[in-house]
């Protein structure tokens, strides 16, 4: 029963990791940009949800209705300006620029909102859970986040494979020049991909704020977990990211079961094992590495 609980709790937190990671995966897969400010963007989304929704008289649970579109727009604009400019120079510049963005965001948040922890207020829902067996408690919030993660990945998968714009995003990811020769304005396509990535990271940030406390510096550790989920699952595979997130979550729960200090360590060991034994990830193609 303990084992079942480890797997269930791991899968629940894994859903959050996947939601957090899919934007990172999309930015890397399409734009070839490793967005080091990805975690901080999620934290910003959390702050916007906490401080904007009372003004608009929206309950915390529904704050995503406002925050997600804002982030989509911010993603598009940021891509068409700052990030595109750095892509035009070289890949190393994109690392520097997103790292700089991360530093600026963290310090601005510290300056404005102090280092105090914040949570997205969802009232009594936070403590409600389903209790199917003696020691197993399934938090409604975590279950909701897992469901949202699966829905987001499913919709994204459908969008990329079935719609014209989705196909153009894949075309640009495959061969930017050939996509241009097929009439695609790759900068616009990059903008759309970034908008989607930012919209998903906004969802992840709000979900994080519902599940636990966050502070201006919470982005970094989550960015690490998101990277690990993407690499374990395999770069370029959306469902792989979900499985990677769940595998990471289960490994962390397993580590925590042995000794609470081992929670993060166990996840890192799984990550290193996958890198050593199957560097393309569980669902990645070998060609993705070259």
């Amino acid at each position: 029963m303990i084992w079942l609980n480890i797997i269930i709790q791991g899968a629940l937190v894994g859903g959050f990791y996947a939601l957090f990671a899919c934007g990172l995966s999309l930015m890397f897969g399409v734009l070839k940009v490793i967005n080091l400010a990805h975690g901080d963007m999620a934290v910003v989304a959390g702050y916007v949800a906490v401080f904007l929704s009372p003004h608009l008289h929206i309950p915390g649970l529904w704050s995503f209705i406002v925050v997600v579109p804002i982030f989509g727009l911010v993603g598009y604009v940021l891509q068409r300006t700052l990030i595109q400019k750095s892509i035009d120079r070289d890949p190393f510049t994109t690392l520097l620029v997103t790292f700089g963005l991360s530093v600026v965001i963290e310090n601005l948040l510290l300056e404005i909102y102090t280092a105090n922890g914040q949570t997205v207020n969802i009232g009594s829902l936070i403590s409600k859970s389903w209790h199917p067996a003696s020691i197993i408690y399934v938090s409604y919030v975590s279950l909701g986040v897992l469901a949202v993660a699966v829905a987001v990945l499913g919709i994204l998968q459908l969008f990329l494979s079935k719609t014209g714009t989705g196909r153009l995003i894949r075309a640009v990811a495959d061969d930017r020049e050939a996509a241009q020769l097929s009439g695609a304005n790759y900068r616009h396509i990059f903008g759309i991909a970034a908008a989607i990535a930012f919209a998903t990271v906004a969802l992840a940030g709000i979900a994080y704020g519902m599940m636990t406390q966050f502070a201006p510096t919470s982005g970094g550790i989550n960015l690490l977990f998101a990277f690990e989920a993407v690499v374990i699952g395999g770069i370029g595979s959306l469902w792989g990211t979900l499985i990677g997130g769940i595998a990471l979550g289960v490994a962390q729960q397993f580590g925590a079961h042995i000794n609470p200090e081992y929670q993060v360590l166990a996840g890192n060991i799984l990550f290193l094992l996958v890198l050593a034994v199957r560097p393309q990830g569980l669902f990645g193609k070998k060609t993705a590495l070259s």
């Binding site: 495959d174 061969d175 996509a179 020769l181 097929s182 060609t287």
Partner: protein, 247 residues
């Protein structure tokens, strides 16, 4: 003579310090097939890629349908009616055959070509449309690359080294389609290393040597000696000639 659709004047293109295309001028008439021939590194592909918008012009002009297009992005040029079938085919490798054509058709102009029309042109495609393009042979991939450009309904089709890496029989089959494409009102500018193939299909031939024009004419008016000379350059003959071995 019909109207000029593409006019290239005094065009020079640099790759850094290297002058890849040096003061080249030519024009393409509506419904015409013009072959640019030349050896490796003669600047043929650079010329074609510059017309498609992938390289910047250093000097000179590229005029399409009376409009200077030198500053337009490749995707804008597709919208005006210029499509390039790039060297090495460059298909979208994560996609199926049909998805490749759908990408090509997404920003298509009005015109005779549709995915259905391409399926008529290449009758083997419909059964295999759901296959990944990496499962296709080189010749089949080349056909998909041509189809992907055709569904955009170009008025000028640029073909870069169709014969590259293909068996002679396959090359012949692919070139057999060219008259059919021209029959739909498309003008073709093609680049070939395979001189015989380029000369046999073209209305006019333009030979490049180290970035410069070395010969221009109709295939019927040109002797093979003239073409050899323009293709390899006079210097090569001199370098072989001294011991008399080649004469």
């Amino acid at each position: 003579m019909s109207d000029v659709i593409l006019d290239v004047k005094d065009l020079s293109v640099y790759h850094g310090q290297l002058c890849a295309v040096d003061d080249v001028s030519f024009n393409l008439h509506e419904g015409e097939i013009l072959a640019i021939i030349g050896a490796n590194g003669a600047g043929k592909s650079t010329l074609l890629r510059t017309i498609a918008g992938l390289h910047r012009t250093s000097s000179g002009s590229v005029t399409y349908d009376g409009k200077d297009i030198a500053k337009l992005s490749p995707n804008r040029r597709v919208g005006l009616g210029i499509s390039l079938v790039p060297e090495g085919r460059r298909l979208f490798s994560s996609m199926t055959l049909e998805e490749n054509l759908q990408v090509g058709a997404y920003h298509a102009n009005d015109g005779p070509f549709s995915i259905a029309r391409v399926y008529e042109l290449f009758d083997w495609m419909p059964q295999r449309r759901r296959q990944s393009v990496w499962q296709l042979s080189g010749g089949e991939q080349q056909a998909v690359a041509i189809g992907r450009a055709l569904v955009a309904n170009p008025k000028v089709l640029l073909l870069d080294e169709l014969s590259l890496g293909l068996a002679p029989i396959v090359i012949e089959r692919i070139y057999a389609l060219v008259p059919d494409i021209v029959g739909h009102g498309v003008s073709i500018l093609l680049v070939e290393q395979d001189v015989a193939q380029g000369v046999s299909v073209a209305d006019r031939v333009h030979c490049l040597l180290e970035g410069r024009t070395s010969l221009v004419g109709k295939p019927a008016d040109l002797t093979s000696d003239q073409i050899d000379h323009a293709y390899f350059g006079a210097d090569l003959r001199h370098s072989i000639a001294p011991d008399g071995a080649s004469e």
